[in-house]
């Protein structure tokens, strides 16, 4: 799976959430994230995680892609869970003697660790579902409606446009270096990585020069056009409110 194929936006957009206004999706996700973060237990974030994962599966997101997305957050969740289990709390849950080392796990530490891990699962699942459900340009349009400064959005659009070019360039250089044994040994590896970074920055400068010249020739005056926001659809707003109210009811219970 190439780097570009891993991108959520490259994923098939013909799914049940494709037609829903990006602003509605963004606002629902914001509301649910606030609920997940302010919840003190395990149940609510896990319900949200299950719902978000179900939505991803309904959108036919490949399992491997989902696992890739979860790898980093799960790694951090495991680190924090182990730290909390072994170093926090008073109530002893278990005690293991491992090669002369006394390891004590605490019940309250475990609960605190599980709460954080559940919050990570809930939050990450929501963001992953949002990423797969919303094409980049619609997301940018929603940000513009939320009054995010225009310059910030313009940089995002430039960055997004050239991400794929640099990802491919970076991978090509990396593969070529690897084939020439550029990563055999620490010293050689560090040198190769420095050259890879430098080459990318160099290409970036050259590309930016070409891009701006081409844009100026096509009438670029310093501002990029953004998609105009249309009126909200009543049905979508009602569905979104129902979704948030249901989640709120579970949160309170």
């Amino acid at each position: 799976m190439s780097s570009c194929e891993c991108f959520s936006d490259n994923f098939n957009q013909d799914h049940f959430l494709a037609g829903v206004d990006a602003r509605v999706k963004l606002l629902v996700v914001f509301a649910l994230i606030i609920m997940v973060l302010s919840y003190g237990g395990i149940l609510f974030p896990l319900v949200i995680a299950a719902g978000s994962l179900a939505a991803c599966l309904k959108m036919k997101v490949p399992y491997r892609l989902l696992l890739l997305r979860f790898a980093q957050p799960l790694f951090i969740a495991v680190v924090l869970l182990v730290l909390k289990l072994l170093f926090s709390g008073q109530e002893v849950l278990f005690s293991v003697n491992l090669f002369g080392l006394e390891l004590v796990g605490h019940r309250d530490g475990l609960m605190a660790g599980l709460t954080i891990a559940a919050r990570i699962l809930g939050g990450v699942s929501l963001v992953i579902a949002l990423g797969f459900a919303t094409p980049f340009l619609q997301f940018v349009s929603a940000l513009s409606w939320l009054r995010v400064p225009r310059e910030f959005i313009e940089i995002m659009m430039f960055a997004y446009r050239y991400l794929f070019v640099f990802l491919e360039d970076g991978m090509t250089i990396y593969s070529a270096q690897k084939n020439r044994l550029g990563y055999v040994g620490v010293r050689k590896g560090l040198h190769s990585f420095g050259i890879l970074t430098g080459s990318l920055v160099l290409r970036g400068f050259e590309q930016s020069q070409k891009t701006s010249e081409a844009m100026i020739q096509r009438g670029y005056t310093g501002d990029m056009p953004l998609i105009e926001s249309v009126k909200f659809r009543v049905r979508e707003v009602m569905m979104a409110m129902a979704c948030v109210v249901c989640a709120g009811a579970i949160w309170i219970v």
């Binding site: 954080i116 990570i120 990585f193």
Partner: protein, 248 residues
């Protein structure tokens, strides 16, 4: 206690998965801490925007350049690099590079953009932790990077050595700040310093060598630019115009 911490370090070293740069994932920070870090990050991002507006007013090529630099930071922070002591691959932060090239305030803006795209489309970092990540990677990473680089250059250190130290200390600065953010956010009833030291030590196997790798990467980037296009470095004010053409 020390044996326990060493044991945890051993667990992480033996993890077969890739290790990761220290983005704080979605959901780690409770609501109040997420809001606090947003409040800390926003003035820096706002100042970065103000500086960006000033610089791009007269130069139409500046906007595409910053956008492309954001794309490069994004790509660099996704590149797998070997971490010798951990025996795994990891991803660098890459914020010292834009800080050296275009200054720390615009670098914060670039980091903010790259982090938002990474959070949405790669699940690296998060929406609620965007503020905390901007503070550690953008604010601390950029200011430490440029501070060390300019300080060493004033002391007549070579371009390569200055860039190496800037990249390395910038990475370690990010690692320290992320540990502070994590410890403050998840400590519960535990004393802050106790948890902070545990988090700090737990990530030592990946983060210390990663800093050295990041230093080498930054030095490699600056020296390559100096060899091939010193005019770019001179135009951006990284080196004096008369330095273009001298040896590294």
């Amino acid at each position: 206690m020390i044996e326990k911490i060493l044991f945890i370090m051993l667990i992480f070293i033996s993890l077969p998965e890739k290790a990761f740069s220290m983005h704080i994932s979605e959901g780690i920070l409770p609501f109040n801490w997420a809001v606090i870090w947003f409040a800390v990050a926003l003035p820096f991002v706002a100042y970065g925007l103000k500086r960006f507006r000033e610089l791009s007013k007269d130069d139409l090529s500046f906007k595409p350049l910053i956008g492309l630099l954001a794309a490069i930071v994004f790509v660099i922070s996704l590149m797998p690099i070997p971490v010798p002591t951990a025996g795994t691959c990891s991803h660098p932060g890459g914020t010292a590079i834009p800080a050296i090239l275009v200054g720390p305030t615009v670098s914060i803006l670039i980091t903010g953009v790259a982090l938002l795209i990474q959070a949405l489309f790669f699940a690296h970092g998060g929406l609620s932790t965007w503020g905390a990540d901007v503070v550690s990677m953008g604010v601390v990473g950029s200011f430490v990077g440029i501070g060390v680089f300019r300080g060493l250059r004033k002391m007549k250190a070579s371009l390569g050595v200055s860039a190496f130290c800037a990249g390395m200390l910038s990475d370690w600065g990010i690692y320290l700040t992320t540990s502070v953010e994590l410890a403050a956010g998840i400590r519960g009833d535990e004393p802050f310093w106790s948890l902070f030291s545990k988090i700090l030590i737990a990530f030592v196997p990946t983060q210390l060598p990663l800093g050295i790798v990041e230093g080498a990467m930054t030095a490699g980037m600056v020296t390559l630019l100096f060899k091939r296009r010193p005019d770019i470095l001179a135009k951006l004010g990284v080196i004096k115009p008369e330095e273009a053409g001298a040896t590294v």
